[in-house]
């Protein structure tokens, strides 16, 4: 259980403090500030013990959120709760910043009141919470709304309220992946993985039953054994000879997905919450399409000069465009001047960040680009050799680096008269860079 929740700004001023249990005193707020926020050294652990009280903190931009307890709790759970709280707050007022928190502090107290009681997490689904949180609650509620609350809180399905109606039934599927890479200077992949999320935004009436299919290896094999049914045929056409199926290392689902069905038939069926939610989260490590390769070449010319040449190669279909490409080439601390020449985009030496930042707005697949820089160094007495931090990269590509494809998403609503064909569906793939590093 959580004894109290505090939110601080970067200076350690308390923005929100809510104490749930008697054993947490007011001095706990100050203890955390003195020992962690104002501590001179860097944060040693996200869990801090001060006078037998445990403080769990997460940071969002320059805001500290701390959960406090004297009990022996499950650390993972507390952090998950803090993340959830951040998500809920973000759903209400966007970015978690000092300004936003100050402007919405009443709302935050309201939220804290609903999602935790006596230190125990209660309902934390944004959709379901909307019914309880009344920012413009001047009017006393109408009869209809009252009955809604009752049905919502007595209903079997905690994540969706009844009686939702839309004129246009629409759903959006986003496959969001972040591809992580650690590559040796010789171009050998040390580790690579994709962590992906399928986020669904549903605007569907009633209590629709949805079924989701993707090119997961096990499913395909299963279906291959039976008589080839229509869906797998149509899927084969659409993929057209490319990589057939992918191996998912592990995947987890939103609570609404019936896990028993997934285990027995590998079919993903569910009644979706209204609005946006994360349907599934997965991770793959095999056959990852690495969208970019970075080939670094660093040469030390004497003690006062470095020559750096970096080539990036895009490795995907030429018809696709990668965006927001940024390559960050670290420079030594004693750099005095930098000359950069690049074929494409803009490159700048940022002294404050000790790096050359090379930005390219767009780049098509199967292309190559190059930057070369001469770095002049101040002679130093420091015998310390420069540690050569890795070259890191950011980008966004319009496909899923894991190779995951959505095969279908079918909607059934037996009670209302709209069918699968009437629902407008949108699918989008976005691959982003996670930690994408090449050592040099």
């Amino acid at each position: 259980m959580i004894g109290g929740l505090f939110i601080y700004n970067h200076k350690g001023e308390v923005l929100i403090s809510r104490v749930y249990r008697d054993d947490i005193g007011r001095n706990a707020v100050d203890a955390f500030r003195v020992n962690v926020i104002h501590a001179r050294q860097q944060v040693r652990s996200p869990v801090t013990n001060i006078a037998r009280t445990s403080f769990f903190h997460v940071k969002r931009s320059n805001i500290w959120l701390a959960a406090v307890t004297k009990q022996n709790v499950n650390a993972a759970m507390v952090f998950e709760f803090l993340y959830k709280m951040c998500d809920v707050m973000a759903a209400y007022f966007g970015k978690i910043s000092e300004e936003n928190i100050k402007n919405n502090f009443v709302l935050i107290y309201e939220l804290l009141d609903e999602i935790l009681d006596f230190g125990y997490p209660q309902n934390s689904e944004t959709g379901a919470l909307k019914t309880f949180i009344t920012q413009q609650g001047i009017k006393s509620q109408t009869k209809e709304e009252q009955s809604q609350i009752t049905s919502q809180v007595t209903g079997q399905i905690g994540w969706r309220r009844e009686g939702i109606k839309y004129r246009r039934n629409e759903l959006f599927l986003d496959v969001l992946e972040s591809v992580n890479l650690l590559m040796s200077p010789q171009g050998q992949v040390l580790s690579a993985h994709v962590s992906g999320r399928v986020v669904m935004k549903s605007y569907l009436s009633g209590m629709p039953e949805c079924k989701f299919g993707m090119n997961d290896k096990i499913v395909i094999e299963k279906q291959g054994k039976g008589t080839a049914d229509e869906t797998s045929k149509s899927w084969k056409e659409s993929v057209g000879g490319g990589k057939q199926s992918i191996a998912i290392d592990d995947c987890t689902f939103h609570q609404c997905v019936r896990l028993s069905k997934f285990d027995s038939e590998r079919s993903i069926s569910f009644i979706p919450p209204d609005g946006e939610f994360e349907l599934m989260r997965y991770r793959t490590t095999k056959d990852i399409i690495l969208p970019f390769r970075v080939i670094p070449l660093v040469r030390e010319v004497g003690r006062t000069k470095l020559e750096v040449k970096v080539v990036i190669k895009s490795n995907f279909k030429p018809s696709l465009l990668a965006q927001k490409i940024e390559v960050r080439i670290p420079t030594p601390l004693n750099t005095s001047g930098v000359q950069v020449i690049c074929m494409k985009g803009k490159a700048k030496y940022k002294a404050s960040e000790n790096a050359i930042v090379w930005k390219i707005k767009r780049m098509a697949g199967m292309k190559e680009s190059q930057i070369s820089a001469e770095i002049e160094l101040l002679p130093t007495n420091d015998k310390k050799k420069w540690a050569r931090p890795p070259i890191s990269m950011n980008f966004e590509v319009p496909f899923a680096p894991s190779g995951l494809k959505v095969r279908y998403l079918k909607v059934f609503e037996p009670k209302l008269n709209y069918s699968d064909h009437d629902v407008i569906k949108w699918v989008r793939y976005i691959g982003r860079s996670g930690i994408y590093e090449t050592r040099c």
Partner: protein
Amino acid sequence: MPYLGSEDVVKELKKALCNPHVQADRLRYRNAIQRVIRHMTQGLDMSGVFMEIVKASATVDIVQKKLVYLYMCTYAPLKPDLALLAINTLCKDCSDPNPMVRGLALRSMCSLRMPGVQEYIQQPILNGLRDKASYVRRVAVLGCAKMYNLHGDSEVDGALVHELYSLLRDQDPIVVVNCLRSLEEILKHEGGVVINKPIAHHLLNRMSKLDQWGQAEVLTFLLRYQPRSEEELFDILNLLDSFLKSSSPGVVIGATKLFLILAKKFPHVQTDVLMRVKGPLLAACSSESRELCFVALCHVRQILHSLPGHFSSHYKKFFCSYWEPHYIKLQKVEVLCELVNDENVQQVLEELRGYCTDVSVDFAQAAIFAIGGIARTYTDQCVQILTELLGLRQEHITTVVVQTFRDLVWLCPQCTEAVCQALPGCEENIQDSEGKQALIWLLGVHGDRISNAPYVLEDFVENVKSETFPAVKMELLTALLRLFLSRPAECQDMLGRLLYYCIEEEKDMAVRDRGLFYYRLLLLGIDEVKRILCSPKSDPSLGLLEDQPERPVNSWASDFNTLAPVYGKARWATIFKHQGTEHCGPKLPHTASLATSGHLISEENKERVQELQDSEALMLVPSCQLTAEYFEKTWLSLEVAHQQVLPWQGEVHPDTLQMALQVVNIQTIAMSRVGAQPWKAYLGAQDGAGCLFLTELLLEPENSKLQISVKQSEKRTEILSSFISVLETVIGTIGDMKS
């Protein structure tokens, strides 16, 4: 913490809240209340406007109601009589047609922490338990626990407990979980909620309907259930299987623990479970949520303690990225160190070597220690890497490498030759105490194989006057004497000089005593010295012990998914010990914890606070009652364990001193009159383990010094030093106040 100027703010807000124009305008009224809450959050004392706020509670505006209730929950304990005025409104709200208002009022009423409120909340809670809206039932169920917490000493109400047990069958999942939580708190003294077979099976069937918080909670409650038969046990495991792959890492770890505990008699099942959670755990370890990643890594380390090969094929997952936070990198290095095997050792070492030159000194040193750890099994490769690191001639690297060498030579004597060859030259790059000690020790013990050993030591002897660390001087004495035994011709002269210095000029008593001791030893003749000093140079049997600790899964299964793996075993032991004593003691935890928590906020001596927290091993018992006779008897029978002199100016105010000592649970037995010369005081204290600390304070005004002598009933040096630091803090604080 009242701030300057808060009175003005209170006055102004009071005026605003009373103003009928403001009261008529909803928005302005709400605004004023919001300002009150905002000041309250910032730590201003807003209890002055309690009356006005209570009046504001009679409104239909739900936002305003919420604000008012929040305020009241905070200040009710300070103004219990005024808070009673609000009860009426709250009771009325408890029967509002809107379930949200009912729930809100009931929750707030139960959170008013003041005496006498029970009689008012009992009925609304009972009504709430039978409310048709589950929202209200959730609140009411937890309300039972709150009510019970308010007057913990009273009898447990059997009817209420019965009602809660029956609510476990409620159709709302959150009500079910809240019932468990509530019962657990109410029945704390009887061992918590009872999970029998029907309840366990009912919970198991409801699991999939619960949200992640509920699932995690129920998983911990199920730990208590003992299946009757093997068949039932495996049925349960089958039912819960899907939770090992849950999307929430908390549930995954919780389920793992349940599996490990239930299957404690089936080691193969345990291994199987750990295999199955490998994927989810690895996913958590590479997740973007750093804090979760940290927690997962801690648990991975725990698993590795028993199954060293468990993650070996996934070693690349634990390579550090440059931008990862420090705490994750340190954990990953530890993990890497534990999962090496014949296949991956080359790659892991390669990777670790890269970290050794990292810009962060801590991280670099951790990596070097990790290589040292691996060296116990793969000695040759590691010693080679460490030797290469010496070539970088970096202070922070060299010192750690030399320390690693010292430990290594002791555990794996086969590498002595290689280490001895690597050592010459590194004395130039060592400045800190630890590194110097290690180097000097190595030179002393293995000096016969290092040709320039006497010359290096000679440098140290030359500079001994400017040496700041006594520990280094002690080490130097021992090392030089050892080297003298194997290479007398080169060392005799400087040994003489060093002994002369230590005995005649050294101010540190410990060093001086050590010098005298060796001098007298030498007087007995060389053979005698050899017999005593030429101990074995290494002890490989220790190395074997270090390598294969027997740690079966069952030894840590009960610690899994608690804070123990997160804090680390040693640190957790100290924290937990105190929590244990707090719970055992009869309801006076607050006085005991005041000693430390009271110091927390005194900003002016933050440093000291740090010390106090580190020395948590000491906990003085508040109720220690020593009689003067008993004190005298014990005092005379004991030796002085510690004596120290503190600066002191002017007179003593016995009352102030006595009060201050009382706060940290040190009892004053006897004291001289004010102005007596010399002034004396006798103090007594006792810690949780029954060890007595007897202290004499002696003040001689002409020297302006306060002499402290401490005697201890049991010889335990760590707690003695923490006791002295407490005493010093108190006396120092009073001294500062006076001057």
